[in-house]
C-alpha cells in the first residue's frame, strides 16, 4: 500500500493506493497517528485508488476518527466506489463520519 499526504486549503488529504489489509493496516495507523500529532485535525482520506480494504483497515479509520474528534477535528472519507463503497456502507460508516463518492463532492 502507498500512503500519500498533501496539505491544502487548511486540510490534510491522505491518499491511499493499493491494498489495506491486516498486514498493511499498522502502517496506516502509524502514519495517521503522526499526521494528527503534527496538528492536522481536518483530514480527508482519499480512497479513490484503494483496491481493497478489510475490517483491519476500517478499524484504523475508526481509531483515527476518534482521535481527531477528541481534538475537535474531523475526518472524512472520499472517493468511494464499487466494492469499497459497499463495505463502508454495510459497516455503517456513513452515519459515523462524512463520506463522499468523489473528491469533487467535498465541501
Amino acid at each position: 500500500m502507498e500512503i500519500g499526504k498533501l496539505v491544502e486549503e487548511g486540510r490534510c488529504v491522505v491518499g491511499l493506493k493499493g491494498r489495506l489489509d491486516a498486514v498493511t493496516a499498522p502502517e496506516l495507523e502509524l502514519s495517521l497517528g503522526k499526521i494528527i500529532e503534527e496538528g492536522n485535525l481536518n483530514i480527508v482520506l482519499d480512497l479513490t485508488n484503494l483496491e481493497y480494504v478489510s475490517s483491519a483497515g476500517l478499524r484504523i479509520f475508526l481509531v483515527a476518527t476518534k482521535k481527531v474528534k477528541a481534538l475537535k477535528g474531523e475526518l472524512c472519507l472520499a472517493g468511494l466506489s464499487g466494492n469499497i463503497k459497499e463495505v463502508i456502507e454495510i459497516s455503517g460508516f456513513p452515519s459515523i463520519m462524512p463520506c463522499y463518492d468523489t473528491m469533487e463532492d467535498l465541501p
Binding site: 489489509d21 478499524r59 475508526l62 474528534k69 464499487g82 466494492n83 463495505v87 459497516s91 452515519s95 459515523i96
Partner: protein
Amino acid sequence: MNKTLVLSARLENLEAFLAHIRNSATDRGLDVKLLYPVELSLEEVLVNIISYAYPEEKKGNIELTCSWDSQHGVTIKVVDYGAAFDPLAKPDPDTNLSFYERGIGGLGIFLTKKMMDEVVYERSHDKNILTMIKQYPR
C-alpha cells in the same frame, strides 16, 4: 479440481492464502474485482484463526481449500486444529449505534456473513471447519 494450501497460522502467510484464492479465480477467468467479497471474508476468518486459535509459542497450521462448481460458485473451506471456536456464535455489532456508543471490532465476521451467500461452522475430530459459499451465476 480442489487445491489445498497448508501453511502455519501466522500473519506473514496471509498474503499467500489470499493469493491462492485469487489465482484459482483467475485460472477460471473470473475478474479479481468480483472476488473481493470472497477475499475479504477469507481474510477476516484467517485473521481470527491467526490471532486466537493457537498459542503464540506453538502456532499450528491452517488448511485452505477452494473448489469451483459447474454453476461457477466457489466453496472455501478453512480448517484449523485449535481450541473449539465458533466465530459465527458472536452477536453482530449494532451498526445503527452512534459513533460514541460503538466499540471497535467485531466487524470482520459480520462482514463475512453479509458478503458470502452461506457460512457454516462445524467442529469435527478436533478440527474447526468453516465453509463459505459464494455463487457467481453466469
